[in-house]
Amino acid sequence: MSNIGMILDRIGRKLVTEVAPKLEGDYSGGHAAMSGLMSVMAGEAWDNAADRLVNEIAGLRGLLALGGKTVTIEESPSLKISDLTVERDALARDLIALQKSLEAREDDEAKDLNAKVWMHLMATAIARMPSPPDFPDADE
């Protein structure tokens, strides 16, 4: 079996619908239910994590270039989530500095670029938002 997303989804559903109800009244029941919910969410996130990070990185590099910043941050040596995250975080620090400098200016060019920064932040926040799993059977 190599479909990790499916495995996490199924483990999570079993925890929520079968294990947690048997532990009702025990403190660990809450842990089991919460762990199950997040396992399902992790299955979904596992599938799209690399795609999301690559998109964030492309957006960040584009904005920094528009801001006239010389970006010295090296490209990720692989598509591993950990490597991509290091690159994304370094670029995000530069974006914070860029946006702060834009807010200090009154010219239209700065306002236009700041609007683009916000569009990136909005799109990123939408992409990062996990869907809350629905477990109709868990209430029965």
Partner: protein, 348 residues
Amino acid sequence: MLETDLAEKFAAYAEAHLPGARNARVDSIHRIHGGASRQTYSIDLAFEDATGPKVKGLILRRDPPDSLIDTERRVEFAAIQSAYGQRDLPVPEALFLETDPSALGAPFFVMGRIESGEPLNPFRIDTVEPHRAAIGEQFFRHLGSIAALPVEGSALAAETETPAADQCWRRELAYWANEIRENALAPQPVAEAAIRHLERNPPPPAQRLSIVHGDYRTGNYLQDGEGTMTAILDWEMAHIGDPYEDLAWATDLLWCGNDEERAAGLLPWPEAIAVWQKASGCTFDPVAFEWWSLFAHVKALGIWVTSEKAFAKGDNDDPILAWSGWFTHSAHELMLAMRLGPKYGAGA
């Protein structure tokens, strides 16, 4: 510490601190889920005193290795003392405060247990039906009553600083900005932009200085399923400040299933504000509310990044901290981005 050990030590402590008590023993003890900021236990304590044998229901709140909110238990204890018995507020009686960790392995305090009611899940707020309106009226009346409690001379005022009316916002924003910067495991461009926005656009001074509960929301009160709020809990973030902080936090979209028509998912906005104004004596100011509402998202991010760090470091392995660092963090980041972006021309 095993619960049997905890029960024995607690019985000995209670016998020494309850006036006239003897032969104290714990008849039952169980941990209550959800109190990640403190380890919370429900205890039946049996003992005898001059009037004969009795059993008292108690709640023990003990500090964990790490928690959602890094606060002193003495502040929570003082806040409960300040509200207990005032203006019909359903608040438990504060009984013991112990800051010496030798008694139970960590500092703790003890409250009387309120015997009826269950917390309402903020993600399933529809389960309050058919008592939504009744609970909503009490929710906003009690919130207003807390805002109207006397500050001067209160137990909380003795434990915390009282800011000037025009400095409440600055103090809270500085505190939560620092929490985010000290604890975030990754850069926070949305939070940083929001902090700068709030600094550039301050709210009006507080209309009055109030006791601020700090975490007044669905999930932190008990209701009996028959239309009565029976207890207001979780006072660990209490302080003295602007009552708009509580109003904005209580009505944050996260706690009301994204219901934009009803304040806190409970009452239509005009009714909710009318009830709050009458109980608090404050006048609703949309400019102040807008600032504190955005601030509520920032404050939430401060809590969520702290939770994520505690979980990631292994200081506290309660899965609720991982949930907070992931789902609720994402939700508040999204809310902030979608509210602030259009103010700067994005999506316009």
